[in-house]
Symmetry: none
Subunit: 218 residues, 4 copies
DNA sequence: TATGAATGAGTCTTCATTCAT
DNA sequence: AATGAATGAAGACTCATTCAT
């Protein structure tokens, strides 16, 4: 975990904090970010009072969940960048790994409320920046190696990832589980097209989306 | 418009109904499907009493918006099917047209609540069925013509469409406007790959998603 | 009534507004300014929703009660100033009238909360300013006529009034009812003492208490 | 100190108890008697657990503060009665001393809650009784000596004291500090008026206020 | 014993829906 | 028929008090 803003905490309090974040992650995913706080408390096995002691309001809980998840993605991105020398494989692996890891986030973060809150969090903004910077390196390397078409930029990739991560619902379980990887693979084929169909619009750079929430396309 | 559940209505009442649906479409898009009803009434320029006379509760308003938008997509799909003889062009055009037409819907329908309501509406279910059937014909024809790779099915296409329609936020205006067409084009390149990378999972058929809400991947 | 910030209101809404202010005046007096809002609503014979529609939070209700009561005192002060030519009688009458009229306020306004809220209200600040200015004229005239000792100023009078208006509790009803007039009369005797005992401290002017809440000494 | 309900206590526990009472006295004065218990604990430099070990609930803490302060007034009253032979000077000195000593109490005790709790405490009732009895002697002696007007009784004096002790706020510091002595002096001048203006109401006796809380006119 | 974490009842406040005007 | 006021149930949040560390 890359981010950790809570220095010292009694062992039991620490444990509760973790349980709450995990419960919130799951419950937000299932019921949206407006679920009654009591539901989250119940899922975490604590009283509402404990929930509020740890997170003084809903927004701060949303922030904590966001930081938790983004921190994990960042760790993963760093590991892949360090380990994988082939540029196309690094990019591919990163996208698929992120997909695999964060089925959750794509569900958690759908709401104007969540977007606003996360967008205003400086800690999260920084993590997102680092993530984009790693992605940018991967994209450039893959283009230099000739594996990736030239008319896209790292912002495009981030957006595609975020879009695909939205996921689908109300389909058979196996379909839902496979969907992100399946459609990401399809897009990756499109990204290798040489020459591909001319793309409408212009390449979207990392700067373009520095104001965006990478994984929260909506 | 294909669907219309409210046959006779005085002219002014009719006008109110339309204003409300349009206001709701916009306000749902901007503020999510949980906006206070009063806000919708205000946007429509009517009192809450009038809103409730026309739509007895929030769900019925959500349904009406859904029917309105789906109806327009269906009309368009029929027109394209009738007009376009080249299968790949028909498919492409349909997807891009749907993209263009429904920036709105993708914003409106993100919530467990909306999903449930729309999923339970028989009228909407039927429209969706017709839409899927048209899409299915287009997909088969495109595969027979050799333009479309064989390891996907019409359910895949519907899901991809629904995913891309989710759209993005917090990016420059031109980027947001172009995003659906841009990434759909990219996917279409992937869909033409011969041979493409083997896709994980299995083809998703129209049956698979008959329980799904095509445009509400969330 | 001197202050009225609420222009047009449907007849029934107006009636409810008045009932709420009156109920709040009484209930604040009896139970302090932290009574559950529901209690006030019940006393006014309305639902909590109505209460909140009219006064979006507790503070705005406190403000409304304060304005209501102060407005009535101001009206009375003006009437006395216009009617009474003898300076000492004017002062005396004003103090006793205020006493008589506002048994209520002295009970309503005891709390840091109430003080803060009322102190921050510009409308109320202005009414208080006018009141002080009228009182100041009365005090100067009474001193010029020789009826009032010279070592006090209008701020002193306002403070004394506010102190006496605090009232007492847990005493027989007749005692409580008479207390303000009785002790004010006693003070008035002290105010006529020529020469009186030298007073510790210095005369308190209207400026000194322009930051104070005249009737809310604590 | 006249009253002490907690005989044996380890030195450090004793120290904690005192710190808590003093902190409560101050914090009640500043923030009213409904301040969160945690705030009092913090001001005393202890944990809430310690606070509750010493005082099982808020009421018992209010009682302890009341006993503490009243005890000190009683000690003072006894000393004055023993030391001062001139009746008017004894009365005057007592009133001004009480004023000087208890700026605090007048702030602490403004709330229905506090009143009720203190009124129900037998220990406090007894202290108050002794205090009234001393005051009664002083009043009678002063009237017999001719220094004090005859149309008042000891209950009046107690009430006046309690009223003046309420104090004022939001005025310059020097004014607030001097206010009780200044206005008590004014009243004392009124109390010497021979003949004074006829007072409305009737003399208030010690019996009349035996149910009252001397210092808690509110 | 001192601490501060956990609990949950009590209030405040919002807003979907009903109803008087 | 249209309006906007009234209602009250639902959910957020606070804090007195209890309890594990």
């Amino acid at each position: 975990m890359s981010t950790d803003a809570t220095p010292q905490l009694r062992a039991d309090a620490r444990r509760n904090r973790d349980r709450i974040i995990n419960a919130a992650r799951v419950v937000f995913a299932e019921r949206g970010p407006e679920v009654p706080m009591e539901e989250i408390a119940r899922a975490a096995g604590v009283g509402t009072g404990t929930l509020y002691r740890r997170f003084p309001d809903r927004d701060s809980l949303i922030r904590a969940v966001g930081q938790h998840v983004f921190g994990r993605v960042l760790d993963e991105a760093r590991a892949i960048a360090a380990r994988e020398s082939d540029p196309w494989r690094a990019l591919t692996e990163f996208l698929l790994t992120a997909t695999d890891m964060h089925t959750v986030l794509r569900l958690s973060m759908h709401s104007p409320r969540a977007r606003e809150v996360l967008g205003a969090d400086p800690e999260l903004t920084q993590v997102r920046g680092e993530l984009l910077s790693i992605l940018d390196s991967m994209v450039r390397a893959a283009q230099e190696s000739g594996a990736l078409r030239a008319d896209v930029s790292s912002g495009d990739i981030a957006m595609i990832l975020s879009i695909v991560l939205q996921g689908v619902r109300d389909v058979p379980d196996d379909v839902r589980r496979e969907a992100p990887a399946r459609y990401l693979t399809l897009v990756l084929d499109g990204l290798q097209a040489r020459p591909g169909t001319p793309l409408p619009g212009r390449p979207v750079t990392a700067e373009d989306i520095s104001m965006a929430r990478v994984y929260t396309a909506d």
